[in-house]
């Protein structure tokens, strides 16, 4: 295959990757996006074979290795539980990083194969590119390993920090740059190896100070690194598929981690530099580490409810405090437009006054036939997809059914936990009127939406 033709095909696969990412930005097109990605990858691999035109002995080996790797990958993909996604992605990243390192090493060892000159006299530009690629790849590898261990729980999720950490990282960074410079002058293999080893160390050092809660951001950042590594190798190999894809992955990963930081209301730089871990984490991690809660945002809630077939709203005193009834009504209207069946479950003592919820719902013109008392609706939770608990707490607390010591023992409660997912809108984990903790917050099918009830509901309306 001519160089021109293969270039064209590489361009095509780059475009397919762009379309893949684009598809992934909305649920409707996401699966199509994934197919684009697969197609792009297939094209690049096939084109590479055709370009090399080497269908001998080696080709068979390549195929075998490809299949071995592929089978392992497929096996992992099918077996892994959905809850282990984040660590899986982290683990995969480490592989990409290592692959980049290996390719760079290979190029360094046999530059002729890549048109980069000969051993001991590799082209300057290529040398820089390949050592950058190797360094970034190595950082990606060791960083991802640490992230994986933290997420997997093998290593403690707590941030590890020590004095002079930032200084050490900075020094090592400078050292790498210096070594690359020196490599360019001397072309000495040992320098190349040192660069790689130091980079492994940097990867470890970069990730250990970051707390478990920030791992998603870190993973996305490592993703970005792996992209830059690929782009570096791409320049070395003069391969536009690698350049386009590397740049694409590099910048999209960086943006994604930035978006995630913003979504969690944290400073991007603090997270990336591990500074945040030292200050804030300590307080919030306390309660989180004992009992982890799942923390969602408006978009998640909107997504869940939009795709539900029935939703039950459970209002409580917090809705009254936040005066969220109008926003709630609007949310329900939007859901109904989406074809979702919505009803309201009113607990007899929700709020602080008999009929408290009724006053507010009537004010928001909620039709009476959508409002049910406990006895009439309690059985429906088992068949409902989402219970949206807005500012209620005690009235959902299952302890009233189980623990005779509890001050609310014997009170009938709304069985929200029987619905497929429970969304709790409240500002914190603090208890309600009765002053007791609610076990539901920590359940697997519960998503906590920490915010003022009105604000959160308004945001959900926006996302619907």
């Amino acid at each position: 295959m001519s160089a021109n033709l293969s270039s064209l095909f590489y361009l095509l696969s780059g475009i397919l990757f762009i379309l893949a990412l684009r598809g992934l930005s909305s649920p409707e097109t996401s699966r199509r996006g994934n197919y684009f990605g697969i197609a792009g990858m297939a094209i690049s691999i096939i084109v590479t074979f055709l370009t090399l035109g080497n269908f001998g002995f080696g080709f068979v080996y390549v195929l075998i290795f490809l299949l071995v790797g592929g089978s392992i990958g497929a096996y992992i993909a099918f077996k892994i539980p959905m809850t282990a996604m984040p660590e899986l992605v982290a683990g995969f990243h480490s592989l990409v990083g290592l692959a980049a390192v290996f390719v760079a090493i290979s190029a360094f060892l046999k530059p002729e194969a890549f048109n980069l000159g000969v051993v001991g006299d590799i082209k300057l530009a290529s040398l820089i590119e390949m050592s950058l690629g190797a360094a970034i790849g190595a950082i990606t590898f060791s960083g991802s390993i640490i992230a994986f261990l933290k997420l997997r729980g093998i290593m403690s999720g707590a941030p590890v920090s020590f004095k002079g950490q930032h200084f050490l990282n900075l020094s090592l960074g400078i050292l790498i740059v210096f070594l690359i410079y020196y490599l360019c002058i001397s072309q000495l293999p040992n320098i190349f190896w040192s660069i790689i080893i130091i980079s492994f160390l940097v990867g470890v050092l970069l990730i250990i100070p970051i707390g478990g809660a920030d791992m998603p951001v870190v993973i996305s950042m490592l993703n970005s690194y792996s992209g830059w590594a690929a782009a570096g190798i791409g320049f070395t190999l003069e391969n536009s598929a690698l350049i386009i894809t590397g740049a694409l992955v590099g910048s999209s990963g960086a943006i994604l981690s930035y978006i995630m930081c913003k979504g969690m209301n944290r400073s991007f730089f603090n997270v990336i530099l591990g500074g945040w871990g030292a200050t804030d984490q300590s307080t919030s991690s306390k309660s989180q580490e004992q009992k982890p809660v799942k923390n969602g945002n408006a978009d998640d809630a909107a997504f869940l409810m939009k795709n539900a077939s029935s939703v039950i709203i459970v209002p409580g005193y917090g809705m009254a405090v936040a005066q969220a009834q109008h926003a709630l009504r609007e949310m329900v209207d939007a859901l109904k437009k989406n074809g979702v069946k919505v009803s309201y479950a009113i607990h007899p003592v929700a709020g602080r006054m008999p009929g408290h919820m009724n006053v507010l719902l009537a004010e928001a013109n909620v039709p009476y036939d959508e409002v049910f008392e406990l006895e009439d609706i309690n059985n429906d939770f088992a068949n409902c997809d989402v219970a949206y608990v807005i500012g209620a707490n005690d009235v959902t607390n299952p302890i009233a059914k189980s623990d005779p010591q509890s001050p609310i023992y014997g009170m009938p409660v709304l069985d929200v936990e029987k619905s497929k997912s429970v969304l709790f809108v409240k500002r914190s984990l603090s208890p309600g009127y009765a002053g007791i903790d609610n076990d539901l917050f920590y359940r697997d099918n519960t998503l906590m939406l920490f915010a003022d009830a009105k604000k959160m509901t308004e945001e959900i309306v926006k996302s619907l």
Binding site: R31, N34, M41, A77, M82, A99, N239, T245, S252, M260
Partner: protein, 100 residues
Amino acid sequence: MEIDPFIFRLSIFILSIFVGYYVVWSVTPSLHTPLMSVTNAISSVIIVGAIIAALSGSSFNIFETSNIFGFLAIILAAVNIFGGFLVTQRMLQMYKKKKK
């Protein structure tokens, strides 16, 4: 008036950065994880380099050190490619809109 291909590559690189920037800018948060796993899968396009590395040289001495690194890289990247796309597929299955 011949222009160094490097300049072109640089242009391509920079433009791709812009595209990457824009393309994820408006992604919905519920798709963050699938997006991450698909970008991960895509980044294993490094396999192109790995294949070149593995097959460099003549067919007879393909087990030189440099080739071995290439083969290793192939395995790693392949795990990633298959694993990444398949797991994304699985995740996206969850987002399938229910039949109403």
